[in-house]
């Protein structure tokens, strides 16, 4: 980091630190409490995802996508199977599409819950975090009754699903939604409009729209900067074009557009929108339909490549798949939204106080598994 001048101090946050959400190392140059430069060092969780993909078959890639963004495994599976189905030109039936959307939206809520809770934790509010985890458990129960796993599901397969919905799933999901909707309001009361919380987050770490686009920031972080961009609406995949929902964007409710509070509040609103989608998808879920109907006997996509993006809870999740006609991917690259979101940290965190840097980091909602892959 070069020469350290006078009063300055170089401080290593991480790789093991309660606020880094995993094993990230931030090297910050500080003068007292004021941070002048933030340099992230990645790779402490580099698990060679792409190398594995070049060595295992297309089906076996799915569990590895689970483990990339371990807070949103369903949407990671979803992105991969959408890309593969695009490459192989497979159409899946209505029931499968509906179940996929239901799972993805439940996963979005679960992921946002943990992201918001962890952000609160970074600010020092411990209790909302546990309340969030408590409600998240209920979503995990739904996943568990569907596919038996709590965290890493391997649920969506190319051309279908690993299991059909169990008996009583729809009712349980409705029950969960009825339980959860008032909880959002409670959460808003507890944290979102908390005076101290607002003081800590409003106007802090403003991310202008053009900077966000240049850094490839996507998802809720980009929307908080005022850009109305959601792949579910703007480049619809699966059956998202059938549902009615809004795209919440940051409006600077407590400070200016694109600050930490906006990034936080957009996620809260997105959970509400997900509930809307869930209710529509549950009501239009077809009773009939075999989830194994279009499972290919052998996955051997034609020679060629595809780049397909889907909207994961963290933003544009892209898969670049290069096929050489065999049953093993020639190259598979994952464009992870958290990777691009983290890259912007120096731009928006420099000049703030040490506590703010950690708040800004929390507001970006990163998952190290996806950054390092």
């Amino acid at each position: 980091m070069g020469v350290v001048h006078g009063e300055e101090m170089v401080l290593n946050i991480g790789p093991q630190h309660p606020a880094t959400h995993g094993v990230l190392r931030l090297q910050v140059r500080t003068d007292g409490e004021v941070v002048s430069e933030v340099t992230p060092y990645l790779g402490y969780l580099h698990r060679c995802f792409e190398k594995h993909c070049e060595n295992v078959t297309y089906e076996q890639v799915i569990p590895f996508t689970d483990r990339c963004d371990y807070l949103a495994s369903m949407t990671n599976n979803f992105g991969y199977v959408v890309a593969m189905e695009g490459l192989m030109d497979i159409k899946v039936n209505e029931r499968v599409e509906h179940i996929r959307v239901i799972m993805a939206e439940l996963q979005r809520i679960a992921s946002h819950l943990l992201g918001l809770g962890a952000f609160g934790l970074d600010i020092g509010a411990f209790t909302p975090f546990l309340h969030m985890l408590r409600d998240r458990e209920r979503i995990l129960d739904l996943f568990e009754m569907t596919c038996g796993a709590r965290l890493l599901y391997n649920y969506m397969w190319v051309g279908g699903l690993s299991h059909d919905l169990p008996v009583g799933f729809v009712e349980s999901t409705y029950r969960f939604l009825d339980y959860f909707e008032p909880k959002i309001d409670e959460f808003v009361k507890l944290l979102v409009h908390n005076k101290i919380f607002v003081e800590r987050t409003a106007d802090v770490g403003r991310l202008p729209q053009d900077v966000a686009i240049s850094y490839g920031v996507s998802g809720p972080n980009l929307r908080a900067s005022g850009q109305k961009w959601d792949l579910r609406k703007d480049d619809p995949y699966s059956i998202y074009d059938r549902f009615e929902f809004d795209i919440p964007v940051g409006e600077g409710g407590k400070g200016s557009v694109g600050d930490c509070w906006d990034r936080f509040y957009v996620r809260v609103l997105e959970m509400k929108e997900s509930i809307k989608i869930l209710r529509q998808a549950l009501s239009s879920l077809p009773k009939e339909g075999d989830v194994y109907q279009s499972l290919p006997k052998k996955i051997r996509p034609p020679i060629g490549s595809i780049y397909k993006r889907t909207e994961s809870p963290r933003g544009d999740l892209g898969y670049y798949i290069e096929s050489d006609g065999t049953n093993i991917p020639y190259r598979l690259k994952m464009r992870s939204p958290a990777f691009t979101a983290l890259s912007v940290i120096d731009e928006i965190a420099a000049g703030w106080l040490l506590s703010d840097v950690l708040a800004i980091l929390g507001s970006l909602d990163i998952v190290l598994g996806e950054i390092d892959r």
Binding site: I213, G216, S305, Y307, G318, R335, T340
Partner: protein
């Protein structure tokens, strides 16, 4: 529909376009009235799109896609424009899925891709490095425009021995990390990158893992790397 009805409607529409809605609203026949209104709306929309199209044309006056028939896809359009502006930088004319470029003029082309108003690729979505065999490495760029909502892919192949591609890190800031990752994984050098270090692997790691002939090193700081525990398999 009779001809005099048609005539009547065109008359009414003309009047409506100037802002005079009285005659339309005073028509007794409900069917005729709604027909007239629909025609008016259509005419208004057409007029609007003409208006918006005109200033765009003025902006991209010099060489742009306007000379091309509107049926060509985006890639063909870009290739056409690149040929006009940066002749000789295309590696081949294949435009079906992607555009294949040579590496030497890449920085200029990239700058142009972002600044050209009719393309305006403001977002670099993804950058992938591939070991395509034949001692060739390839960098692939997926671009997207938030404004026009269109998308393209550009590929640049370089020989393994002198794998150097101009860096676009200063144009799209995210390319900074994308290029570092590609460098880390495949050893493609990006000339002009201000901070080209390994990003995921440790600085003292040996080799480029995603090259197809990669052999993992035996030990790292005294820790056996490819070790498999005894009694497995």
């Amino acid at each position: 529909m009779s001809t005099d009805q048609d005539k009547l409607i065109t008359e009414l529409v003309e009047k409506g376009l100037t802002g005079d809605m009285e005659p339309i609203n005073s028509i007794e026949d409900r069917v005729l009235r709604s027909k007239a209104k629909a025609a008016l709306a259509k005419a208004k929309r057409a007029a609007k799109s003409q208006e918006t199209a005109e200033p765009k044309k003025k902006k991209s006056e010099e060489k742009s896609s306007d000379d091309l028939p509107s049926s060509v896809n985006l890639n063909e359009k870009i290739v056409y424009m690149i040929n006009e502006k940066f002749s000789g930088s295309l590696a081949n004319e294949n435009t079906e899925t992607h555009i294949q470029l040579k590496s030497d003029q890449w920085f200029e082309i990239a700058t142009w891709l972002k600044s050209e108003p009719s393309l305006f690729f403001d977002s670099l979505q993804c950058q992938t490095g591939i070991d395509v065999g034949d001692n060739t490495l390839e960098a692939r760029y997926n671009f997207h425009s938030m404004k026009h909502n269109h998308y393209t892919e550009i590929r640049i192949a370089v020989p393994r021995k002198e794998a150097t591609i101009p860096s676009v890190e200063q144009i799209w800031r995210i390319a900074d990390w994308f290029e570092r990752e590609t460098y880390d994984m495949l050893g493609i050098e990006f000339s002009g990158h201000r901070d080209l270090r390994r990003i995921l692997l440790p600085d003292d790691w040996e080799g480029w893992p995603l090259r197809k002939d990669y052999l993992v090193q035996e030990t790292y700081h005294g820790i056996v790397v490819p070790k498999m525990k005894e009694g497995w398999e």
